[in-house]
Amino acid sequence: MTHGQVTRRQFLAGTTVAVGALALGRPAHAKGSVTAAMYPGTWEEAFRMHVAPALKSAHDVDLEMTPLFAVDQIAKAQAARGAPPFDAFVLDPGPRVTGIDRGLYEKFDAKRLTNLGRLSAGMTDEWGVTIAAQVVGIGYNPKKLPKPKAWTDLLKDPWVSRLGMTGFQTTYGTVSIIEIAKQYGGSETNVEPFFTEIKKVLSKVAAIGAPASMPALFQQGQCDITYTNTQTVATLRGRGVDIEFVKPESGAVSFYTTMHVAKGSKEIENAYKYFDTVISAPVQTALMQPPNNFIPVNREVKLARDLPMQSLDEMAKFVHHDWAKINPLRAGWIERFNKEVAK
C-alpha cells in the first residue's frame, strides 16, 4: 500500500463504517407523522403549542402542518388528484360540502376515536368529526359607537358610516349577509333584499375589504363595526383593541369546524390519532384559553366565562345554515356582490 492512495477495498470499507456509524447514531424515531392542513395565524400557533406536544406524548406521532385556508385546501386537494399534499383537512361548512361533493375525503369511522363518547350527538358523520364551534355576530368599538341590537342596525346610522364589510368569500361573511337579508324578508337561499338595502347606503359604508385585512382595518380605526366571530373579537381584544361582541336579537349564527381524512392519505391511522388528540378534554381546554379562544366541542370541558354560551347544549339555539343549499348559489352571489359594490 502506498501513501496518499486509497484502494477500492479501503474505500468500500471506510464507507461502510461511516454509513453504519451514521445509522447507529440516529436518534430513536417516532412512530410516524401526520401532515395536517391548518388555518394560518391563531389556529396554527395554538395547534403548534398544544396539539403537537399532546400528540407526541400520547401517540408518539409528529404533527406537521401546512398553513392553508379552507378554500385553499379544497383547491390544492382537487389539483393533486388523489395524491393529497396533506393527510387531514380542517374546514368550515361551505368548503366541507364542496369536498364531499368532489370526493376528496376517505370515509370516516367515528368508532376509531376513543374520545367519541365525550362529544355531543351529531358531532361526527360518515365524512369527519367536529372539533370546534364558531359563533358569528357583530363586533363593534364601544368607545366610538352605541351598542347595536340587530343585524339591521349595521345598515343604519350611526353604524353604517363606520361599517367594515366583507363579501361572500368567507363562511362568516356569507352567513352574516344571509342573516341581514333575512331581517328584510330574505331567506337562506334569497339574499336579494340585502342587495336592495346595501345599494341605498353603499356610499356611506366605511370599508369593504378582503377578509384577511379586516382585523388590521379595525385595529387602525378604518372601521368600528363589522360582522365577525367570537374568536377574532377575543384575539383583537387580547391585543388591546377596543372591541365588544354582540349577539344580534334574532340570534347569533353558529357553525362547526370539522376535520377529515384526505382521500389517498398514507397516514390514516395517524390522522385518527391526531383527531382524537384534538377533541380530548385537556387539549380542548387549552385551546379555549386566551390567546386561542376556541369554542370547544368536548362536553367534559368547563366553558370559559366570556364565551357566548353557558353550556354546549345552547349551541342548538343559535342560527344554523344548510350549506348544501348555499354552495350552489354562492358563485352567483359573489359575482353579484362584485357588480353591486364595484365603484
Partner: protein, 297 residues
C-alpha cells in the same frame, strides 16, 4: 454510385456535426427546458381548461368564454385594471425620472447611497409593505393625522380603498422596478455627450430634453413595462389597499379559482389578464420606439 452517395452525404454529415458541436445555444438549454416544463406546459393546460363548459372539467365547449367576455362588467374590470397600470406607470415615472437625474449628477459616493435607498424597499416583503400602507393611509394613519393637525381638512380624508390611495401605495411599491433599469442605462451614458452639448451652446434644459432623456429612454421604457406588468397583477396590494370595491382581474381569478372552484372561468380570466397586460406592455414598447426615433431625429 458509391462515390456520388459519399459526395452527397459528406456535406450533410458536416452540417450534422456542426449542429451537434457544443454551441452557445446549448447554454440556454437548461433554462429553455425549465421554461417549457414550468411555463409553456401550464400555459397550454390553462388554455385547454378554459375551453370546458362545466366546473368539474368534463364537457368541452366555449361557454365560459362566452359568459366571461359577454358580460359588460368584465370589460369594465379589464379597463380598470389597465387604467391602474397606466396611472402607476405615470406616477412612478413622474417621481422616478427626477430621482434618476439627481443620481446622474451625483458623486460616486452619493450614487451608492441613492442606489441603496432605491433597492431598500425590495429588502422587505411586498406583504409587509402593503400592510404598512394601511397604517399610513388609514383614517387614523400618519397622512390623516398630519392633514388634521395642519387644519387642511375638517375630517379625515378617505385614502384607503380608493383608486388614488392604491396608486400612491403602488408607486412606492413598484418604484425600484422603474429605477433599476433606468439607473443602469443612465450610468452607462457617456458624460462627454452632455458636456459636448453644453459646449456647443445648448442650455441645460435643451441638453436634458435632446441628449439625456432620449439616451435614457430605453431604460425608462424597460422600467415602465416592468411597473405596468407588476402593478396590474399586484393581487395583494390591490386587495388589501383597494378593498373589494375596486375590482381588478386578479381578484376575479382568485374568486373563481379558490372560492367557487370554477377553474374554466378562472382560466379564461387568467388568459384575458395575460393578453391584456401583454398588449399594454407591447404598447409601451411601441411608444418607446417611436419616442426614441422622434427624439433622435
Amino acid at each position: 454510385m458509391t462515390t456520388a452517395t459519399a459526395e452527397i452525404a459528406a456535406p450533410a454529415a458536416r452540417r450534422w456535426s456542426a449542429a451537434l458541436r457544443p454551441a452557445e445555444w446549448q447554454l440556454v438549454l437548461p433554462l429553455a427546458l425549465a421554461y417549457a416544463a414550468f411555463f409553456l406546459v401550464p400555459l397550454v393546460l390553462l388554455i385547454l381548461v378554459s375551453f370546458f363548459d362545466d366546473e368539474k372539467i368534463t364537457t368541452m365547449g366555449g361557454a365560459q368564454w362566452t359568459k366571461f367576455l359577454g358580460d359588460r362588467f368584465t370589460w369594465k374590470v379589464i379597463a380598470d385594471t389597465l387604467k391602474l397600470g397606466v396611472f402607476t406607470v405615470a406616477a412612478t415615472s413622474l417621481i422616478g425620472v427626477p430621482v434618476a437625474l439627481v443620481y446622474l449628477g451625483a458623486s460616486a459616493r452619493w450614487q451608492g447611497v441613492i442606489l441603496f435607498v432605491v433597492i431598500l424597499p425590495l429588502l422587505t416583503s411586498v406583504v409587509v409593505r402593503t400592510f404598512a400602507w394601511i397604517v399610513i393611509l388609514g383614517r387614523e394613519g400618519v397622512i390623516n393625522q398630519t392633514v388634521l393637525w395642519l387644519g387642511l381638512s375638517p375630517a379625515p380624508l378617505r385614502l384607503l380603498q380608493t383608486e388614488h390611495g392604491l396608486v400612491i401605495a403602488l408607486t412606492q411599491i413598484e418604484m425600484p422596478l422603474l429605477l433599476l433599469p433606468l439607473l443602469s442605462v443612465m450610468s452607462r451614458m457617456d458624460p462627454n455627450l452632455r458636456d459636448a452639448s453644453s459646449a456647443l451652446g445648448a442650455s441645460k434644459w435643451r441638453t436634458l430634453f435632446r441628449v439625456t432623456l432620449p439616451l435614457s429612454l430605453p431604460g425608462l421604457v424597460a422600467g415602465c413595462m416592468l411597473v405596468f406588468a407588476s402593478s396590474t397583477t399586484a393581487f395583494i396590494s390591490q386587495l388589501v389597499i383597494g378593498g373589494n370595491r375596486l375590482v381588478y382581474l386578479p381578484l376575479l381569478i382568485w374568486q373563481q379559482s379558490l372560492v367557487v372552484y370554477n377553474w374554466p372561468l378562472a382560466s379564461a380570466a387568467a388568459l384575458t389578464l395575460l393578453v391584456s397586460v401583454g398588449l399594454g406592455v407591447a404598447a409601451i414598447a411601441a411608444v418607446g420606439r417611436r419616442g426614441h426615433a422622434w427624439a433622435l431625429r
